[in-house]
């Protein structure tokens, strides 16, 4: 069809260019936004948690939002930097790691916990009936989420140190990615201990999972926007929409994000900067 148009002369050529540009503009305008979450749960659970919130945002942005599932924290950060992601739900440590590598990552809101507080704790868990021989730390196996997870090595190492009086490096540990999987692997007896987010650990108490240590409160999970792929108007619209979400609305969202949001303050992540040497976190566990 375009060939026929071009053959009709110069004037037709301009019409063709204008049409082509219009089609491109329309396709850009109609592009779906990509949302991803840290792979702290399985895909179905992530859909359950975030689909209501994304529908809420779609109505404001007049744009559909699609899920993108990332296999690991590192992969998520890499794809964000490559502009394959417009919005990401991330914990404080991976947020810090991302912000260090990509200045265009902008945390806009953080999600409250059940008590309305803006922050959460990481915990150390074990299966209640399991009897641990703390005197022999080399026999202990510890399940961790991700190297860049706040409740991974970053929080669990000090909790293990305090509980077992031995460094995590003296024990066997392995990254098993998801918080749920940390809980389940401890329940299954594959690991003696596990480090995870407190709210998720609580949901496994009905299976005998015991919380044996708590970390200090760290900044809540945040929604990170990509300023390279989103316009300032869109960013402002998302921020305003989320901050103005009525309680009835966010109560219907996933459990992890159903307690409201707060705007990110400029010093929210400042106090984490000093005690985190992100580069020193082992990228792999010592247990195969």
């Amino acid at each position: 069809m375009y060939v026929e148009i071009l053959e009709k002369g110069e004037s037709m050529r301009w019409i063709y260019y204008i049409g082509l540009m219009s089609i491109c503009a329309l396709s850009l305008e109609a592009r779906s936004l990509i949302f991803t979450s840290l792979p702290y749960k399985n895909n179905a659970a992530i859909v359950e948690d975030f689909a209501p919130m994304l529908r809420y945002l779609e109505s404001t942005l007049n744009r559909s939002v699609e899920f993108r599932f990332e296999p690991s924290y590192q992969r998520l950060i890499a794809d964000f930097i490559d502009d394959k992601i417009d919005m990401a739900y991330m914990g404080p440590l991976p947020t810090l790691a991302l912000m260090k590598q990509d200045a265009s990552a902008l945390p806009v809101v953080t999600f409250n916990d059940a008590k309305g507080k803006n922050g959460y704790r990481c915990v150390l868990v074990k299966f209640m009936p399991d009897m641990l021989v703390l005197e022999q730390p080399q026999t202990l196996k510890v399940a961790l989420t991700e190297p860049l997870s706040t409740c991974g090595y970053f929080s669990t190492a000090p909790l293990v140190q305090a509980y077992a009086k031995a460094p995590l490096s003296a024990m066997h540990y392995r990254y098993i990615h998801k918080h749920d999987e940390v809980a389940l692997s401890v329940l299954r007896g594959e690991f003696h201990l596990g480090g995870m987010k407190e709210s998720i650990a609580e949901s496994y108490r009905s299976l005998g999972l015991e919380i044996i240590a708590y970390s200090p409160i760290v900044p809540s999970f945040a929604l990170i926007l990509n300023t390279k792929t989103l316009s300032s108007e869109q960013i402002e619209a998302i921020r305003t929409r989320l901050l103005n979400a009525p309680a009835k609305e966010y109560a219907s969202w996933g459990k992890e994000i159903s307690w409201g949001v707060q705007a990110v303050q400029t010093d929210t992540y400042r106090h984490m900067q000093f005690f985190s040497d992100i580069e020193s976190i082992p990228q792999e566990g010592n247990l195969r």
Binding site: A44, V47, A51, M128, P129, L184, L187, L207, G208, S252
Partner: protein, 644 residues
């Protein structure tokens, strides 16, 4: 115009009947293919679910019903919540290897223990979701729990719908609860795909019985199907089947067509298996729907397969050809019919014209067979010949009506000969009427040709008897004197001319007598013309009586008569004497009185004569010589003879 309309109407009706019949046959052919595919789907589906039922029963009997599992469940009957949590954890720990290595590997997505009260005790696929009451929303659990029997079927659930197999756990008479193993649809599809050759598979979930009963927070596991608002599918984010369905351009196109098709929407409401044929971009597809029911006989959903069906394209092409050929055949037939009708109309018109002509003509028309039998006669024939039609048909025409002067052996009948040789014949013949009267007819006989062979002859004739008489009368008037019935001057000159020519050849002497009645004027003047006329008639008769038949006696005008006498001889003198004797004989006869009306009258005549024997004298010369001779007699005293 009427024929055209009739032909087109017939074409339309015939093609409509042909099309409807062909269409019905085509639909039957398509239905046979669709039925085959749907039957395959049903058989395969039943085979797969039955296979899983057997294997799941084995899992239940030989793997799940282990003493330590029974012990945990027995202890949980009276345990506190905290104790239950530990027992739940222990159960999870003890059966997880089975769940992960056996069940999940073989597609059994859910292993779910329920308490004796119908609450969820432990979901292996979602361990932290427990304690919720299921008995009100899960018919399988309720039935297995209350009736303590094995229950299986498709059913909705709090998290996922699935193909459920629920077993009651009874140990030493104590009911410990129930355990449920469920299959995902994807697993069913994996097995179905080994048996079927479908391109895509989808499970349409009936909202009312499946997705409406899941936990609120799990509602996002499902999205509306593209086919119907009453049916959902699993969220494409967590189901590869749904992902294919929503991303495949082909499936999007097919599903949109199905959604916009009222028949599909109607069939979906019937809860029966059906298949829909589709042709897209020269490819045939069969979309097959097989209903699956919950254990309380409500529709759980439809197992849907998207099959390639190239046979549909073949059938479509075949019937397009049939429709076209049928149309052409009927068009040709109709055109032939049109020509036939036109021909028939023309024949009818020609027949009417022929009958009108034959009936209204005054000429007799007969159709004769090759052996002369009469096949047809028109009204004029009957009128002319006086026969009844029944008497003529089948009779031999020659014997019945033809008057042949001689026997056929001596002189063949021209009509019979013409028929026999398929020739035309035109001539005058003599026919016999029913009353025996003979009539002259003018006959026109023409061979009657049908399909390149003669089947007889058409004879057209007309009665010319009166015509012939009239002609004879006219001729008579032209050559004879109306008063005396003697040849007139014209005929005399004609015969004289002929005689002169004959004399030139035969060299025989002939003679001419010029007779003029004496004192005829006086008679007219004294007694009147009628007496004069009678005298002329009497003179004519006496001359005829007196002279030879071969001699020509003519009234030349007024009271003048001329007698042409032939064959007098080869010599002049004897011939002259012979002529003189004849003249005397005439004169002698004149000496007798003539009776005129009421009186006798004596009349004399002056006779002049002359001889001629070759063509040296013209007829005028001859007449002049005789006239002069007669005039000499008149001058010399009348009642004499003068032969020049």
């Amino acid at each position: 115009m009427k024929q055209i309309l009739l032909s087109f109407s017939l074409l339309g009706i015939l093609y409509l009947l042909f099309f409807l019949n062909s269409y019905a046959v085509k639909e039957r052919e398509i239905q046979i293919i669709l039925d085959g595919k749907n039957q395959s789907l049903e058989s395969s589906y039943k085979a797969v679910t039955q296979m899983y039922r057997i294997s799941i029963e084995n899992y239940f009997k030989y793997v799940i019903m282990q003493p330590h599992v029974i012990e945990i469940l027995r202890r949980s009957l009276h345990a506190s919540e905290e104790e239950k949590a530990l027992l739940r954890g222990n159960l999870y720990r003890s059966l997880y290897p089975l769940y992960q290595q056996e069940l999940v590997t073989h597609g059994i997505r859910q292993l779910h223990f329920h308490t004796e009260k119908g609450e969820s005790f432990l979901r292996f696929h979602q361990p932290n979701e427990n304690g919720d009451l299921l008995i009100d929303v899960r018919a399988t659990i309720k039935k297995a729990n209350e009736e303590r029997i094995f229950v299986s079927g498709f059913e909705g659930g709090r998290i996922y719908p699935g193909f459920r197999y629920v077993y009651p756990i009874v140990d030493q008479g104590t009911f410990l609860g129930t355990v449920e193993l469920s299959l995902s649809y994807e697993r069913i599809v994996a097995e179905l795909s080994k048996l079927l050759n479908a391109q895509h598979y989808l499970l349409l979930l009936n909202k009312e019985t499946t997705t409406d009963v899941v936990f609120e927070k799990h509602q996002d596991h499902f999205v509306p199907s593209m086919i119907s608002e009453r049916f959902m599918i699993e969220n494409p984010s967590i189901s590869s089947l749904s992902d294919q369905a929503l991303k495949s351009p082909l499936l999007i196109q097919i599903n949109t067509l199905l959604r916009d098709n009222p028949r599909v929407q109607k069939l979906l409401a019937y809860h029966k298996s059906f298949s829909i044929p589709l042709l897209l971009e020269h490819q045939g597809y069969s979309i097959n729907f097989y209903p699956i029911f919950t254990i309380d006989d409500r529709l759980g959903g439809y197992v849907t397969t998207y099959d390639c069906a190239p046979e549909l394209v073949d059938i479509e092409n075949k019937y397009l050809t049939i429709y076209l050929l049928g149309f052409l055949t009927l068009a040709i037939f109709t055109f032939g019919l049109y020509l036939f009708l036109m021909q028939r109309k023309r024949i009818v018109l020609e027949k009417i014209q022929f009958e009108t002509i034959v009936t209204s003509t005054v000429n007799g028309v007969m159709l004769l067979t090759n052996d002369g039998a009469i096949r047809f006669v028109n009204t004029a024939t009957l009128k002319i010949l006086g026969y009844r039609e029944i008497d003529m048909l089948g009779a031999n025409a020659h014997r019945l009506i033809h008057v042949h002067p001689q026997s056929l052996d001596q002189m063949p009948c021209p009509i019979i000969e013409s028929i026999a040789h398929q020739r035309s014949y035109v001539g005058e013949e003599l026919f016999r009427t029913a009353q025996g009267e003979h009539i002259f007819v003018h006959v026109n006989l023409t061979p009657f040709i049908q399909e390149n062979r003669s089947v007889g002859s058409v004879m057209i004739f007309r009665n010319i008897t009166e015509e012939k008489k009239a002609k004879e009368t006219i001729e008579h008037l032209a050559y004879y004197d109306s008063l005396t019935e003697l040849p007139n001057r014209k005929l005399l000159l004609d015969r004289l001319n002929y005689t002169v020519a004959m004399c030139a050849r035969s060299h025989e002497y002939c003679g001419l007598l010029f007779i003029d009645l004496d004192n005829f004027k006086n008679l007219n003047d004294t007694l009147g013309h009628e007496y004069g006329d009678v005298l002329l008639q009497k003179v004519a008769k006496r001359l005829q009586k007196t002279l030879r038949h071969c001699d020509t006696i003519a009234r030349f005008g007024g009271d003048e008569f001329v007698v042409l006498i032939t064959q007098l001889g080869l010599n002049e003198h004897p011939s002259k004497e012979q002529l003189r004797r004849i003249a005397h004989k005439v004169l002698k006869e004149f000496s007798k009185p003539f009776y005129l009306i009421d009186c006798d009258y004596r009349c004399t005549a002056s006779i002049g004569g002359t001889l001629f024997w070759d063509n040296s004298k013209t007829i005028n010369d001859i007449l002049k010589d005789a006239d002069i001779a007669m005039y000499a007699v008149k001058k010399s005293g009348k009642n004499e003879i003068n032969i020049a």
